[in-house]
């Protein structure tokens, strides 16, 4: 592998083997770049994927892709990218594309680590396409999410995440995270219903978001199912256009600091419940959601094309 891992002479990763060598060469002060797409088909044993070691301080992917990660691991909790198990540190990732990830397991985290030392992952200008099936039917009681395992926080800036899959039960996509200027697109089916008291299952739980939008479809295979969009969030200038299918009640709880909105015409027969007394989350028709002048009039910051 080219480079020495310093900021001026980063490691240049061009193969899966290069990436895995970071298990020994990497560290919390190591700098890396992707020199080409990393196609996991060309790992030594692609059917037995093991977590790629994200053992660096900074990865500049330069728009290159990590592609074709495929895992089928029933009854197993897995994380796909392994953070350095050292002291608290921040891992910054720029311009990374993840393409054609297809994972089935009991419970999945994108980022994880082997101990409970806290870490932060900053994702900047990244674009992920994830197909993830999870069979777990119990909502986790700790602060974990699809994006990360325990002790890890994610900060998204200018990221575009597409997520599809069939899940045993609704779980957080974000928990204790920060999302700024990003788009989250989902098409997820939940097989097991949850009660209206399991608020920690929200797709955004205890998360701060600004200038962010959620689109797509939430399906329920269970009758009379509840769906939690947000719980304990701090949200500003963000919106939700989520079509719901076979959902009885949609909950959007939290502190909406400035005008946000949701499209209530695409929620089917679901009742939409928002935090009482919070006037900054507006329930709009589809036409209102697509009308720049109207959105400006209610305080949503946007422009006409």
């Amino acid at each position: 592998m080219q480079g020495t891992g310093t900021q001026l002479d980063p490691y240049i990763i061009t193969t899966p083997a290069d990436f895995y060598s970071l298990s020994t060469l990497g560290g919390t002060n190591v700098y890396c770049e992707l020199g080409s797409d990393i196609d996991m088909n060309y790992a030594d044993d692609p059917s037995n994927y093991t977590s790629l070691p994200f053992f660096f301080k900074e990865l500049r992917a330069n728009g290159h892709k990590i592609r074709n990660i495929s895992i089928s691991a029933a009854n197993t909790n897995i994380y796909l990218f392994k953070l350095c198990p050292d002291e608290y540190h921040v891992t910054s990732i720029y311009d990374l594309v993840i393409e054609n990830m297809d994972v089935s397991a009991q419970k999945v985290h994108l980022f994880g680590k082997t101990n409970s030392v806290s870490s932060t992952v900053k994702l900047n200008n990244c674009s992920f396409a994830l197909h993830i099936n999870q069979s777990e039917t119990t909502v986790p009681s700790n602060y974990v999410s699809l994006l990360h395992g325990a002790g890890i926080k994610i900060e998204l800036t200018l990221c575009n995440i597409s997520l599809t899959g069939i899940w045993g039960v609704q779980m957080c996509i974000f928990c204790n995270d920060t999302i700024n200027k990003s788009h989250i697109s989902v098409d997820i089916t939940f097989n097991t219903g949850i009660s209206s008291s399991v608020s920690r299952s929200a797709i955004s739980y205890k998360t701060t978001m600004s200038d962010t939008y959620f689109t797509g479809t939430i399906h329920s295979a269970a009758a009379n199912n509840n769906f939690f969009g947000t719980t304990d969030v701090n949200a500003s200038n963000s919106y939700f256009a989520l079509t719901t299918d076979n959902i009885s009640c949609c909950f959007y709880y939290g502190s909406y600091i400035s005008t946000c909105f949701l499209d209530v015409e695409i929620t089917g027969n679901a009742q939409v419940v928002t935090s009482s007394g919070n006037l900054n989350l507006k329930s709009l028709t589809t036409a209102q959601c697509k009308n720049a002048a109207y959105l400006q009039s209610i305080g949503f910051n946007c422009e006409e094309a």
């Binding site: 200018l158 597409s162 599809t164 959105l295």
Partner: protein, 90 residues
């Protein structure tokens, strides 16, 4: 830059033009090919491995998706390397 309402983008909802494009979730199984024994359902037997072929064009492998990794399926209990699967296995 912030939200822009453009009928040509995001189905007319506000969108952020500075975001990177989202890659498609293609749901195509990766094309690593398994060293496998081909299961013959009629005689409950396995044939020897078929020859290895490297550098398989991705476009030729779309059919591959949909098979399972179950114990009795084409890919059961196999060791991964780059071999090609032919759909006319039995």
């Amino acid at each position: 830059m912030g939200f822009v309402v453009d009928p040509a983008r995001e189905n007319g909802y506000p969108s952020l033009t500075e975001l990177p494009d989202a890659p498609a979730v293609v749901r195509r199984k990766p094309y690593y090919i398994y060293l496998m024994r081909i299961f013959d359902a009629s005689i409950n037997n396995c044939y020897p491995c078929i020859p290895a072929i490297e550098n398989i064009p991705e476009s030729s492998l779309d059919f591959y998706y949909g098979n399972t990794h179950g114990n009795t399926a084409f890919f059961g209990n196999t060791t991964a390397t780059r071999f090609i699967f032919t759909p006319s296995s039995n």
